[in-house]
Subunit: 328 residues, 4 copies
């Protein structure tokens, strides 16, 4: 028989991303809509262990849909990786009468939820919140679209100065394991080359490409590099290497860094967060557990946690080809 859900908790976990607040708001309001009590947990799993809960109603989340960061804070918890830590967390949830939770985070956060569910048969649901878009089971994670815009706008500014001075810029964007950000930002910013973790084009190809670019009359160039690019050199070494081998270029480096994680979410991310929060809570209500909500073909969908954390979010090969054509 279906156990009725009466109290749902929501929290954010792992690296923060724009849209997390909109996600919290949606979970809280969907609970209110269905007359379910809702609690916010501060600082992710660590706050769960410590019982750092706060009751939230529809008005608790006003004015946050457009705010970056997360009002519930985020943290990584070593203690939750231990059986003892998870037991403490379970006890704290029980003590507060909480029946189920929604975790907004990435791979690691979902793995934690999955284990917790196995150990205590506790209903859990996940919302993918990370700028990297590296999660299987959704075409878009919360914050990804915003991060693309943030990076592209920053590179637009850098290109102003690059083209005033005939310079070559190496610009590092986020994305340690997958090249979604680099590839889309590279195409969006009109980069001459894009280096991603999925492909090793080799340094020779890079030099060739930059030489062709120069020969074709381009006076300045931008190379977008993912943090974890396959060439394996960090962006400063890359810049040095190119400067040594191409005297004709004045080379500069810019690491966009943490600003990509912040900022007011785009309309897309706000709407996505609103949809995901509804789907997460209503899935719990109908008795589902251990799933991640996601966007597939523009429709809300569920993916079992074990698939979400094992699966690979693949790069769009068509887009790599588009990128090659655009840089002619």
């Amino acid at each position: 028989m279906l156990k009725t859900i009466k109290k749902v908790a929501v929290f954010t976990s792992g690296g923060d991303s724009p849209g997390m607040n909109a996600g919290i708001r949606s979970v809280v309001r969907t609970c209110a809509f269905h007359d379910i009590e809702c609690y916010g947990i501060y600082r992710g799993y660590q706050g769960m262990i410590e019982g750092d809960f706060e009751k939230m109603d529809a008005r608790s989340v006003k004015g946050i849909i457009n705010k970056g960061g997360t009002i519930l804070k985020s943290a990584r918890s070593k203690e939750f990786r231990t059986k003892e830590g998870r037991k403490k967390a379970y006890d704290a949830l029980c003590k507060a009468g909480i029946d189920a939770f929604v975790v907004i985070g990435g791979d690691g956060s979902f793995t934690g939820a999955m284990i917790f569910n196995q150990e205590f048969d506790f209903p859990v649901m996940g919302i993918p919140g990370t700028i990297d878009n590296d999660i299987f089971g959704t075409t878009h994670t919360l914050g990804y679209d915003t991060a693309l815009n943030t990076a592209v706008e920053a590179i637009d500014k850098i290109r102003d100065t690059a083209s005033s001075h005939n310079r070559l810029f190496f610009i590092e964007v986020m994305g340690r394991d997958v090249g979604h950000i680099a590839l889309n930002v590279g195409v969006g910013a009109g980069a001459e080359e894009i280096l991603i973790p999925e492909e090793d084009l080799g340094l020779d190809r890079l030099l060739d490409s930059l030489r062709r670019s120069k020969a074709s009359g381009k006076s300045s160039s931008v190379v977008v590099v993912a943090e974890g690019d396959k060439i394996g050199k960090n962006v400063f070494e890359l810049a040095d290497y190119v400067e040594e081998n191409m005297a004709e270029y004045e080379v500069r480096v810019s690491v966009l860094g943490h600003m990509q994680r912040g900022g007011s979410p785009s309309c897309f991310d706000r709407v996505l967060a609103s949809r995901m929060g509804v789907k997460a809570v209503e899935s719990l209500i109908v008795g589902k557990s251990n799933y991640m909500v996601g966007l597939k073909n523009d429709i809300m969908d569920l993916t079992p946690f074990d698939q979400a954390v094992k699966g690979k979010s693949k790069i769009n090969m068509e887009l790599i080809r588009v990128s090659d054509i655009m840089t002619i």
Copy 2:
């Protein structure tokens, strides 16, 4: 036997939208990539009639991927609606040796292309460029994503002042026939009510909703109204009606207007434009004609013009439900 395409023309037609320049750039560079000559036509079909062409190579389109508007200008042409006008246009294209064209625009522009294709068996391909997202055969038109962000950012600013003063704002956004912009912007901006052309919720329901909103402790409210909302009153009349019936509110109106058409395109729109340009030119190369390129399930796809112009771009009913839940 397949006629080889040697010279392709590209132009923008109808209302402009962010991403049109990125689309032009993509068409031009894809032509260059395939060693096809490319011509830009100024001022849409009118410029075609007048032979207002300019040869473009890969470097002609540098520095435009991030610019709003269209470097080729746009216009509506009465003359092209006549058989004589179209004959002139055909002669001008032939004289310049142009084999095929790519039109970036909306419904009306595609109808023109379709008729032109029927009359002269001239290869044509379309890229959907309009902020309204009202075209069948693509989940996203060029400029739509940018317009959503522009509108949401403007409403964020208005909400600052609304909530400082406990005011009720009626904000009109674009979208004469379909409510895509209003619905997404409304959810993204956290609007209390959203009025769209597809639904007549009635004035009573609006008043009820605002009263509940007030009763639930909200001190300020934002109502997003599509230009062509079903209630049929324009936004100023609506505001007057509410002010007369709800003395507790100080009501203000803001019409966002044409700023929604401009601005630097979002990363999404730049990438979409790049993909669409490649698809359009390469479809012409393989002998296709009379199609619109579009995005379906995140994949580039073709839709015959007659379906594109006859079909309806439907509102997402799930999102209407999400909107209702969010405004509790």
Copy 3:
């Protein structure tokens, strides 16, 4: 003998403007720095009458320096215009043990403070917060610089579409009595004509200018109009008049409206707010009262309230000349 100030209240009054929160933060933190208790008053003079006070310490104002609007809300109070209302306000302040207040607002708010000071010999200090920059005794009011950027960015977007279509846009910006916003925004946005309350250039001159503009090869034009322009027609009538008399133009209107009041303050406004808050509190501490703090020649300065409210904030005639030259 100097009465020692022990408890200072701060509030915002009249129309809100970006930077008000940064001003509140500065007053609160300067009080904390000098070991003075600080109270926030909600909803301006009306909240003062109702005793709607809240004790604030340095941490109460964290995270607000970059937020538009005012966390203390603003309101207009009819009751405070009566002697009885002001007596109630005085009693409420006395009951709470408040010794002095800082009001952030415009002309009307300062007049209220001045009368209150005369009636009850109560120490008061003013910070000019309004986007209109219409206050004597400071070269910049809080929010003015931000509003200029907001308006210019909106017009940049409109110009994208104007120049794609060879259109003429009439754009109304705020500024009922003085043309500071219109003049600066007009120059900053490269407007062809600027209509301000201080000057009646006449409709004939406007038509002449637009005709010259067209003749000189400009394909699109933007005319910036202050709300209270001297020609006296509202922006829609102006547009109709021009369209009737210049068939060659397709005319459009955009009223920027309330979005100009909101948004995250510019760096300039945040710094100005910080400086003004310090000056206001430290002036009260040394026994001054009945002054407005202001920026003169980049230095913090005091102007007696009676001069601030009577004086005129004059338009920069050099800038009118610059505008004429730029539109050649």
Copy 4:
């Protein structure tokens, strides 16, 4: 007797800054207004030597007032530092019939102009264009205001993520010799500490301040560091030092870098550029030479080049005090 100026050249030199295009536009249009021919010189002094000139009229500069970078490109010229190089430049100017020039740049560019004027008695005028605001004789250089906003907006985003995670961020902003950017950005972004080249507060004071900040209940902190801060350690070493000595903080670094040089200029910078261009050209017309135009007390003013390059642009000590109070 006054030699009549008939042909004026304009160019940008040294590091680029937002507003340079608006400055070029103003010089070109002011020339047109006074019926003086105007030439643009590409790539600064190097282009002058090479005779890389282009005639510009009022329409040549349309649509650039809001663009970052410089359409005339910029460069540093070693050759111009030699007498032979300058002679070549003089010959090229004479050959083109150019009577006078306006240089938009910084200290180094003005020194070049001053020497050139001495050697050839050639009329020269300077417009201060640099984001660093490090030039004597003007309260604001072109681009400074824009760079402040760019940096503050980037730090706002970083703070979102900092406060979600209780992190300490060291953020490096531009300003090698003077701390104007760091000081204003630090106050504007609500930084807990600001390290500038003018002051050596010492590492101990920094640790003390961060400890107090933590003790006072702040969960995250931002330290803004000028490139050339007096402590002398670069921002990465600083971060390491603090992390070693304050285990309670997770420390991160962000170098804002070249994005601060680009972007669309603020309204202030556009207006300033327009005023400076008018003043520069009209000063040449009345026979002045060897001056830099500048803003003093909101009025356009002239400063002899030798004073401009020798003088020091001093930090505002009041603002340092404001900063101390704000971080309580």
